[in-house]
């Protein structure tokens, strides 16, 4: 069998590359070692950041379904259970299928093999119950089995934060998130989703040991100083049956190395702008060429595929320039803001707009009341209105896009959202549900709708069971501390809300800017 293009890896990068190439008329085959296509995407049950063109506010799993429909309709051939075990610079690959080994050849190859999770050796790390965060995600979101009952998450990057939240959604207890770094590595909004439910963060803490003889029964963490040295007598013990490691990913670049691609110091292949490696017509796209996101992986895949299409003469230089111009623009939008690859080690002090970045958010996972009040999304007042607690420059703007009344402004994709008080919010709740960071709340004290002296607060609530209407409960603040009794006045679920139910609860007016979560009592 011969193909114009072979893609190794059916994750977001590989599938996007295949779809793009097939749309230009190339005969494409994709190989993946897994029994299911999609790579990481089908584990990502949360809504993605970005802009409309990056499929923002869609869940990874739904993006995966869409991508598969696209490759299907374009006639892309996908070989599953087909690990690629060899890659040669004459663009030949060796694939293991069942008990046999097959060779394939193509004019062009895109390697999109993704990344694998880093290990972290510590006392007891091989005990059953210690696992990668990705493993936990596979078990709960694909296999639908809880990885454990009580979990400690090690690592506060976006992976640790997202998987931590998904553990709660699966019904596990998350006892803490610990990280040796002095500040939370992932987005503040992801951290805050956890903190308000009561999950504590331990920054500048590292794991001392996992306890248990046959399997994990507990964990001990301890504080470290600026030089990562353990500070005596700071140990904290937790009873857990599971320890999840979210301590980074490394590119799975073995095939590229084997083929003889020039590699850089950090283990990624040296590539030109289109992802072409040092070997003619062999490209690398997605996490294998540098750890980023599914959103950027998908664009990188398309850029490489468009370049391959041009080199093989399927599209003209002119249409290539046009297409790659669009794709480059979309990619550079995503690579902005304080969490962008080039800013990874910069101190987080001020936003682009000059606001102070919350120290408490970086250390404890929640913003304090004093800190939040200076932000442009936070304008307490009468009537019904959104309160936007999004305080870091991240590439994201669905809140602006979805509001039918133009109440929310986001100047460029990484700017902080601004609530425009001269608009008429109807309280439709679309922004609350759409926000991937779950950082928007509604407050409502309209006379006639809400009792005198009270305020109704609407929050996104992606947990089960949903509260019962007029059910008694307790309101919690941003730090997860109980505030006051609160009853639920409304529960909204509809297709428009994209599986993010909205819960409205009623509290005394002076709690309007404090109550951010609700639990049944």
């Amino acid at each position: 069998m011969s193909f114009d293009l072979m893609v190794i890896g059916a994750g977001p990068a590989g599938l996007s590359a295949a779809a793009e190439a097939a749309s230009h008329g190339l005969k494409v085959a994709v190989f993946d070692e897994n029994a299911l296509p999609g790579g990481q995407l089908f584990k990502q049950i949360h809504k993605f950041f970005g802009s409309k063109e990056h499929k923002a506010k869609m869940r990874g799993i739904d993006i995966g379904i869409e991508l598969l429909e696209e490759t299907d309709s374009l006639g892309v051939k996908v070989f599953l259970n087909s690990p690629v075990v060899g890659l040669y610079k004459n663009r030949e690959i060796v694939v293991r299928q069942k008990e046999t080994v097959r060779h394939f050849k193509a004019d062009s190859i895109i390697v999109a093999t993704g990344a694998s999770e880093n290990l972290l050796p510590f006392d007891g790390w091989t005990l059953p119950g210690v696992m990668g965060a990705g493993a936990a995600q596979t078990m709960m979101n694909i296999n639908r089995v809880k990885p454990g009952n009580r979990v400690l998450m090690l690592g506060s990057g976006n992976v640790g934060l997202v998987v931590g939240f998904q553990l709660l959604q699966a019904g596990c207890e998350l006892v803490a998130i610990a990280d040796a770094a002095p500040r939370i590595g992932g987005y503040g909004v992801h951290a805050s989703k956890l903190t308000r439910t009561g999950v504590p963060f331990y920054l500048s803490h590292t794991i001392m040991r996992a306890e248990g003889r046959e399997n994990v029964t507990g964990v001990v963490i301890g504080q470290v100083d600026e030089n990562w040295q353990h500070i005596p007598d700071t140990e904290k013990h937790f009873e857990v049956d599971t320890i999840c490691l979210a301590v980074g990913l490394s590119p799975s670049a073995q095939l590229l190395k084997m083929a003889g691609c020039k590699m850089s110091q950090n283990g990624t292949p040296v590539c030109d702008k289109s992802g072409e490696t040092s070997l003619y017509n062999i490209f690398a796209a997605g996490d294998v060429s540098g750890i980023e996101e599914a959103s950027s992986a998908m664009i990188e895949g398309r850029i490489s595929a468009a370049a391959a299409a041009k080199k093989l003469g399927f599209i003209s230089e002119k249409s290539f320039q046009k297409r790659s111009g669009e794709l480059d623009a979309a990619l550079s939008e995503l690579r902005q803001g304080m969490f962008a690859p080039q800013n990874r080690n910069a101190p987080l002090e001020k936003t682009d707009e000059g606001f102070n970045i919350s120290k408490s958010l970086l250390k404890k996972g929640y913003i304090t009341e004093e800190e939040i009040s200076e932000y442009p999304g936070f304008k307490p007042g009468a009537g019904i209105r959104p309160v936007i607690e999004c305080t870091q420059n991240i590439p994201c703007d669905p809140c602006r896009d979805i509001c039918p009344k133009g109440c929310i402004k986001v100047e460029n994709i990484v700017s902080l959202p601004v609530y425009d008080e001269n608009t008429n919010c109807t309280g439709c709740g679309l922004c609350v549900a759409a926000c991937p960071g779950q950082a928007i709340f509604l407050t409502d004290d309209r006379p006639g709708k809400v009792e005198e002296g009270k305020v109704a607060i609407t929050i996104p609530y992606e947990f089960l069971p949903l509260p019962e209407k007029v059910g008694p409960g307790m309101a919690y603040d941003r730090s997860g501390a109980p505030l006051c009794p609160a009853y639920v006045s409304k529960i909204q679920e509809s297709a428009f809300l994209g599986k993010t139910p909205l819960v409205t609860f009623v509290v005394p007016k002076n709690m309007a800017m404090r109550a951010r979560f609700w639990k049944a009592v």
Partner: protein, 102 residues
Amino acid sequence: MRIINHPILGEAAPRKNITFNFNGEEMTGFSGEPIAAALRANNIIIHRYTRKFHSPRGVFCAIGRCTDCVMIVNGRPNVRTCVTALEEGMTVTTQYGAGGGA
């Protein structure tokens, strides 16, 4: 340990219940799910013991990469249970060392 209803993924689709044998004990699981998932649902998390130090191992990567989860399946040692589908009547046995026998 089964997640019956999930806030985002909804209710679990009905799957075929089957029986399999773990270390001589009859257990139930779903046809086609990874063996490791069925074991976890039955609260089994130790899959093997290493040869030299006899230390226990369980699921670590869940995607077939690390080989921590290998067991003896239908008499064959070193089967990665996190990526091998469960079948009716399978025998699954804890592996000691290279799996040549306990």
